[in-house]
């Protein structure tokens, strides 16, 4: 057993875990953060993407013990004060999801992408999301949503999106 202390969506947790426990299982099974899902074994699909100390990572390819001391934001902590993140809004408005399974990872990666490049062209969005597979949408509306969110976030955008605030699961 190893001890891990992490802050997830603004709440601090301390747990004893097996070293082999992947971060995604820790989030889902220990913390009940089932909004983050698992789609593959090989870090190809990106469905499990969360932010670890402000950077997008595939939580299936990080051991929970490696995250000791880290701040983690999941899809469940992205909305703030009941207000959806602009990327979440844009996904809804642009019909950027169908079954929704890839959506948490896709949104978390899109937020990261916009942090690095606030005004990406279509190519930059497509390449920035290459680590996230979607089987439903053909990606076109996802690309549109990310570009639309970029516009919405441009002038007078609120505080940095990655500061976690506690938000109840049901928004």
């Amino acid at each position: 057993m190893a001890q891990v202390r992490v802050t997830v969506d603004g709440v601090e947790y301390v747990d004893d875990i097996e070293p082999r426990m992947l971060l995604v299982y820790y989030l889902r099974e220990r913390l009940g953060k089932t909004g983050t899902v698992i789609g593959c074994d090989t870090s190809n699909c990106g469905a499990c993407t969360v932010h670890l100390n402000g950077q997008s990572v595939k939580s299936c390819s990080v051991l929970a013990v490696q995250a000791d001391g880290a701040e983690i934001t999941t899809i469940e902590g992205l909305a703030r004060d009941g207000e959806l993140h602009p990327v979440q809004k844009a996904f809804n408005e642009c019909h950027a999801l169908q079954c929704g399974y890839c959506t948490p990872g896709m949104i978390m990666q899109a937020v990261d992408l916009l942090g690095d490049n606030p005004d990406p062209d279509e190519r930059a969005v497509r390449e920035g999301l290459e680590g996230n597979l979607c089987r439903c949408t053909g990606y076109q509306n996802i690309v549109r949503a990310v570009q639309s969110a970029a516009q919405a976030m441009k002038p007078g955008a609120s505080a940095p999106v990655d500061t976690p605030t506690p938000v109840a699961g049901g928004q």
Binding site: M21, D41, Q55
Partner: protein, 283 residues
């Protein structure tokens, strides 16, 4: 899927890491960024009894400009390498190749040292280290040593690293003012390189004065295309001259065959892509 059980230590110094590795023997594995290792553990293709996490050793992370060279800590992430100014200015080829590795999330976690020590011949950075005459600093039970990239890669997944060894730093000579390009050919954007060409050239008055060419996935290790380099020197940076030189790219290669590309296709691709990479590098 869940890995088999293992123990885990997170040393705070290189010496502690070496000691942990020595005590555990063969069954220990180093985890750097973990982006190649964790999928392997999840599929239970490997089952080490101990993971030694280098993530807690601050000295292994970071990039230093050391005058005539750029020194990169083994645990420096791809993401940090891509954004580093001294890399962009003096070792641009490394940044260009690193940008093509996997995807954004993986580049946040994956490390240069991890990639080189993993020594997958389809990995993108070995060819760069080789072409640019990098030196690798290895700390081990009997102290530190420096190994040139040309001696580091031994075979598939096999390097000059021995038991208890930790790769600590990678030093690149400066290629300030050189043109460079990494030409990667893969089946899908997130797939490994079918073939890739790392090229850097110094052009003087339209003539190629110096050239460095490294090959990804054309043998059991990254390969330096010395024949092409020799043929390029003194040639004008024109399509015809470069393509003629690129024809020598298969010298000394042993291209693998798989469903994506049988050996003859890889060899053909290597020629075409070498021409493109060198021309792009020459600007």
């Amino acid at each position: 899927m869940i890995p088999a059980q293992f123990d885990y230590v997170k040393p705070s110094s290189v010496d502690e890491a070496i000691q942990a590795l020595q005590e555990a023997g063969d069954d220990a594995k180093i985890i750097a960024g973990g982006q190649s290792l964790l999928p392997v553990l999840r599929l239970r293709l490997a089952a080490p009894t101990l993971l030694v996490d280098l993530g807690g050793i601050a000295e292994l992370r970071g990039i230093r400009d050391e005058g005539d060279r750029v020194a990169i800590g083994a645990m420096t992430s791809y993401y940090d390498i891509i954004r580093d100014e001294s890399v962009q200015q003096h070792v641009a080829l490394l940044g260009q190749a690193t940008e093509t590795v996997a995807d954004n999330q993986v580049r946040h976690r994956g490390t240069l040292g991890g990639s080189l020590a993993h020594a997958d011949p389809a990995g993108d950075l070995g060819a760069v280290a080789l072409a640019l005459d990098a030196e690798l600093v290895i700390a081990g039970p009997s102290g530190r040593r420096t190994v040139p990239a040309s001696e580091f890669f031994v075979d598939y997944f096999t390097t000059a690293l021995g038991e208890g060894d930790v790769l600590t730093e990678i030093r690149f000579p400066k290629y300030t003012g050189w043109g460079s390009h990494y030409e990667k050919f893969n089946r899908t954007a997130q797939a490994w390189s079918m073939v890739a060409i790392a090229a850097a050239v110094r052009v003087e008055g339209g003539t190629i004065a110096e050239a460095r060419v490294g090959l990804t996935n054309m043998g059991s290790t990254p390969i330096r295309a010395t024949g092409v380099e020799q043929a390029l020197v003194g040639q004008p940076a024109t399509a015809d001259a470069v393509r003629a030189a690129a024809d020598r790219v298969t010298e000394g290669t042993a291209a693998p065959s798989d469903a994506d590309a049988a050996a003859d296709y890889r060899e053909h691709l290597a020629k075409v892509l070498t021409g493109r990479a060198v021309l792009a590098a020459a600007g």
